[in-house]
Symmetry: C2
Subunit: 291 residues, 2 copies
């Protein structure tokens, strides 16, 4: 039996699992996110199809999580996972080492190992929420409990819109998909997704354009701050909103230039929606020694 | 002849030099900052008094500098140092290895080696200007050219006061000694130092209080952002304005709490004005491999 790296990326709507050898994604599947039982089942099916056993399992999941004890905590988007001791459960089930980390940090590891491979960058997920992962000198910046990189919760506008975290004017409240949708609901008086708002803006709706521009300016301010703090080689973006980068990119970049002393280099991840899955496969190499 | 670590901290007004053995500061002197000749002379006198030769020389200086080539660049506060190849000159003069780094990064190294010794912290110099140095997982976050940690140039208020860097609303423009003094000049119509403004505020002058509060709020916002991004063990402050910490601290801390999801732990460096000198003495241990 061959031994393969197993990667799991638990998202708010979709869970992706993949089997890797030497950084190549050999087998993969995805399904609507439910709970642990569904992940175990999908892994069993995939491993049997590959005639493989797991070498180790890496899992990326949205914060908050307890990395030290391998537990997914009270995440509003993952009702089936609240308090699940995923590391203990999966290592018992598959008899191998299991590692759990923040999904945006996994994405940064994916970028480090299989993307641009820069030793100095900040990765930003621009999606329903805004998360981040940081690599400096080829090493992940983990923070004390593995929770570093929360770039979505930089307060950029103290009098700005309320954020789900309880503060006001976080980058996430200003620029995330949720933030854009909430502002659109107030403006248009009906529910619109961020993707719809962006489409309306592209089609020439001035109110939608104003709203999108404000989100892009906040993202540019955040990028400018990260550029000054880290002096990275590049800032790398991924996540659903980057699908509209042709339209959004110029607004983000001109704002970012205004907010930093040298023009930030901004790239999109070449790994697309799989960036977190790739990172989960390489997570075992980067686990910090939490004190 | 014993061999001692030599540390040089070149400041805008004062240059400090010291001789260290095993992290103990054995001999020291300081003098008004001029140029290279004065540093060479002071080192010769100190080394001869100590009957010692230099093991290595570490130098901290304000940005901008070219760390790769050991050159101090166009720093407005250091007219005698513009373009001086300080690493080449001193290594020729003293026949030992010489290292040059940003002064705030040196201060962070001083904190790492001789202060709180935390492996995860952000150091902020709150003085005439605002600088910073970052340590993650026991390692300095250097950035691509050793210029990371420029926390003073985070843009916090896009419509805020002009910064000497050309941008608007940088933390430095809002909260540094220079920023406070400039706002005071506009408000009171005459030149006042930041220290005087703080004293007036403490004595009950409402206009001065408003001005100081605004600076403290900006510092709190900056601390909140750094707390979210790094998840550090602590944020450590040093620099001239921390001499008034008894008065300023509560304002800074209450703002910082408002701008982060968990209350930031903020400490003052126990090394006082010598924090950068201590760091310069240990700089040789932390030099990055710039590509």
């Amino acid at each position: 039996m061959q031994r393969l790296m197993v990667a799991v990326d638990i998202g708010g709507t979709k869970t992706r699992v993949g089997l890797f050898r030497d950084g190549s994604l050999l087998f993969r599947t995805s399904f609507a996110t439910k709970g642990l039982a569904e992940v175990v089942k999908a892994l069993r099916v995939l491993l049997s199809r590959a005639k493989a056993e797991p070498y180790s399992i890496g899992i990326g999941a949205p914060a908050p999580l307890d990395m030290r004890h391998g537990v997914i905590l009270n995440c509003p988007n993952l009702p089936h996972w609240n308090g699940v001791e995923v590391v203990t459960e999966l290592s018992r089930e598959f008899d191998c080492e299991v590692f759990l980390a923040n999904d945006a940090t996994c994405a940064a590891i994916g970028e480090l190992e299989f993307g641009h491979r820069s030793p100095d960058f900040v990765y930003i997920t621009w999606s329903t929420g805004i998360g981040g992962g940081i690599v400096s000198g080829g090493r992940v910046v983990w923070g004390v409990e593995g929770q570093a990189g929360e770039v979505g919760h930089m307060v950029l506008a103290p009098q700005g819109p309320h954020c789900r975290c309880g503060k006001r004017g976080c980058l996430e409240a200003l620029a995330s998909g949720t933030g854009i949708a909430r502002a659109a609901a107030e403006l248009f008086g009906r529910k619109l997704t961020a993707a719809t708002v962006v489409r309306k803006a592209q089609e020439g709706d001035v109110a939608a354009q104003r709203l999108v521009l404000r989100a892009c300016e906040a993202m540019g301010q955040g990028i400018g701050i990260l550029w000054e703090i880290f002096e990275p080689e590049m800032i790398i973006l991924g996540g659903g909103l980057t699908r509209s980068w042709d339209y959004l990119g110029p607004f983000v970049l001109s704002a970012a230039r205004e907010f930093s002393r040298t023009p930030p280099r901004v790239e999109l991840t070449p790994l697309g929606d799989d960036v977190g899955l790739y990172g989960a496969a390489a997570l075992y190499k980067h686990i910090p020694d939490l004190r």
